[in-house]
């Protein structure tokens, strides 16, 4: 039993995996997306807010998960910017500081006319303390955030002058790769103070957050698929985004994704067939 498995060099399987991802990518294989109800709910949460609402952009992800979450974060940023919301960027992950910058670059390069630093968006940056940070900023932001990333006093920035705490937010948009992240934002802020919140999370983290939807968490985007659907919804609602190739980053990745999923399913089925054939042969002997 199992001879075949021990004998087959698994580097062949690795090579296969590399090919099924690389080829569709190089060939530009892509598929249409039909947004699910959950994605529509998340989209509506951002879209139905009146222009100029306060949104906390809590982006908690790092290089290890950027492949999954970067397109999602960018889609959220573009959508909020399109709706001219006031954006407060914040993170609980040290490695996410450059990720905030990346999203602010989107604001500056694509929405520069509508977005002035300090009036329409502010970068609060990172503070150590994990859920301890949420616990404080939800009642008193300036105890921990005396200044923004440029060292500017929050009291002197127009949009933060009268900001006492994040209960004043109309929505929390969280992109989360793990702990601390969406779960902690729900527990310590959204659920407790009844602040509306949507989250975009990794495939690994998504299933465990479903129990919070919809009472404690308005909606949830799980993995690259949901990001692609969100991008599609965004392009359908605002066709001008179709001209910007950066807007369909996740859509582009669904090509390799589909082929790779089929590859994995095929491997499991094939593996089981060989295993059970071997086993039967072993039993017959």
């Amino acid at each position: 039993m199992g001879d075949f498995f021990t004998n087959l060099d698994r580097r062949w399987i690795f090579l296969g995996m590399g090919i099924v991802v690389a080829l569709p990518m190089l060939l530009g294989l892509s598929f249409p997306e039909e947004p699910s109800d959950m994605v529509r709910d998340v989209f509506a949460a951002v879209d139905t807010l009146p222009e100029g609402s306060n949104i906390l952009m809590a982006y908690d992800y790092d290089p290890a998960t950027k492949g999954e979450l970067e397109p999602m974060a960018a889609a959220f940023t573009r959508h909020c910017a399109k709706k001219k919301h006031k954006l407060y960027f914040i993170t609980l992950w040290p490695a996410a500081v450059p990720m905030l910058r990346q999203n602010i670059d989107i604001l500056e390069s694509e929405f520069g006319d509508d977005y002035t630093y300090g009036e329409n968006y502010v970068n609060l940056g990172f503070r150590p303390g994990n859920e301890g940070v949420i616990k404080v900023v939800v009642t008193d932001l300036k105890e921990l955030y005396g200044n923004d990333v440029n060292g500017q006093d929050l009291q002197k920035i127009p949009m933060t002058r009268n900001l006492k705490n994040i209960q004043q937010m109309d929505l929390i948009v969280n992109v989360s790769a793990g702990t601390p992240g969406a779960k902690e934002w729900v527990q310590y802020a959204a659920s407790k103070y009844e602040i509306k919140m949507v989250a975009g999370v990794t495939g690994v983290g998504a299933p465990a957050l479903y129990p919070y939807v919809p009472a404690q968490l308005t909606g949830l985007l799980g993995a690259i698929k949901a990001a692609a659907e969100y991008e599609q919804t965004l392009i359908d609602a605002y066709p001008e985004f179709a001209e910007n190739p950066a807007t369909n980053e996740a859509l582009r990745r669904m090509g390799p994704q589909l082929i790779a999923h089929i590859y994995i399913v095929a491997l499991i089925i094939l593996g089981n067939c060989i295993y059970f054939t071997d086993k039967r042969r072993g039993a017959a002997r």
Partner: protein
């Protein structure tokens, strides 16, 4: 001193924080405790770094197997630290041009940014990308439908894997519409069996329910554990020596 004081500190701060949830007057105490907590958390990063340095320096000095790699680790650590502390390549903040040190430590184009962008980011993200390859090989060699439970698990996984891509729609949408049309005269009659719809059902009903039960269990576990820590029943965090 060595055990009683820590037990008292833990109990005091823990109960103050619990009380601050029910007694408005204690709210500000709870907030102060959390602010101190956050400052300690910053020092935890320093402790983490220093610990790593200590372990690798010990490894180098005792010339244990693989000490050469420890030299690399120490070098990478030191270079990153010096560049970050010294704010190399950081220009002053635009609001305070007269203060040379006022710029953001992670400014685009600075030395620390360079270390992040070209060293930390590609290495860390590729490290995790390796997992996709391992999943492929495990798919072939490890995941066996050997009993009812495993069969349910794998079938659900297949449905999710296919239903969460266009394959789900492509495989089931048209056939089901045709079947619905033929059997009931309504192409939408069987739409609920479309893979993408089934996946939403699995995620929103069974997955949600299963995770909710797990969540309730974990919550009770955390409550019990926290209580034991605060009451001093569980002292494992104090270590076993002495």
């Amino acid at each position: 001193m060595k055990r009683t004081v820590p037990l008292c500190i833990a109990a005091l701060v823990g109960f103050v924080l619990i009380l601050s949830e029910f007694i408005p007057f204690a709210q500000s105490w709870g907030r102060t405790a959390m602010i101190w907590f956050d400052i300690l958390a910053a020092f935890a990063f320093v402790l983490g770094g220093a610990n790593l340095l200590k372990i690798h320096l010990l490894k180098i000095s005792s010339q244990r197997v693989g000490w050469g790699y420890s030299v690399i680790t120490v070098a990478a650590f030191t270079i990153t630290m010096v560049i970050g502390l010294g704010k190399f390549g950081v220009t002053p903040s635009e609001s305070f041009p007269q203060f040379t040190w006022s710029g953001d430590y992670l400014q685009d184009g600075s030395g620390f940014w360079w270390m992040y962008q070209y060293v930390y980011l590609p290495l860390a993200s590729t490290m995790f990308a390796l997992l996709a390859f391992y999943i492929a090989s495990a798919a072939f060699r490890a995941f066996r439908a050997k009993n009812t439970e495993a069969i349910i698990l794998l079938v659900t996984a297949f449905i999710v894997l296919l239903g969460r891509t266009y394959a789900g729609i492509w495989l089931t949408a048209d056939p089901l519409a045709w079947l619905g049309q033929t059997l009931y005269g309504d192409p939408q009659a069987l739409a609920m069996f479309r893979l993408d719809v089934v996946v939403e059902m699995i995620m929103g009903v069974f997955n949600m329910a299963g995770n909710r039960a797990i969540m309730i269990g974990i919550a009770l576990g955390i409550v019990a554990l926290s209580l034991k820590v605060l009451l001093g029943v569980d002292r494992s965090y104090l270590g076993s020596e002495e």
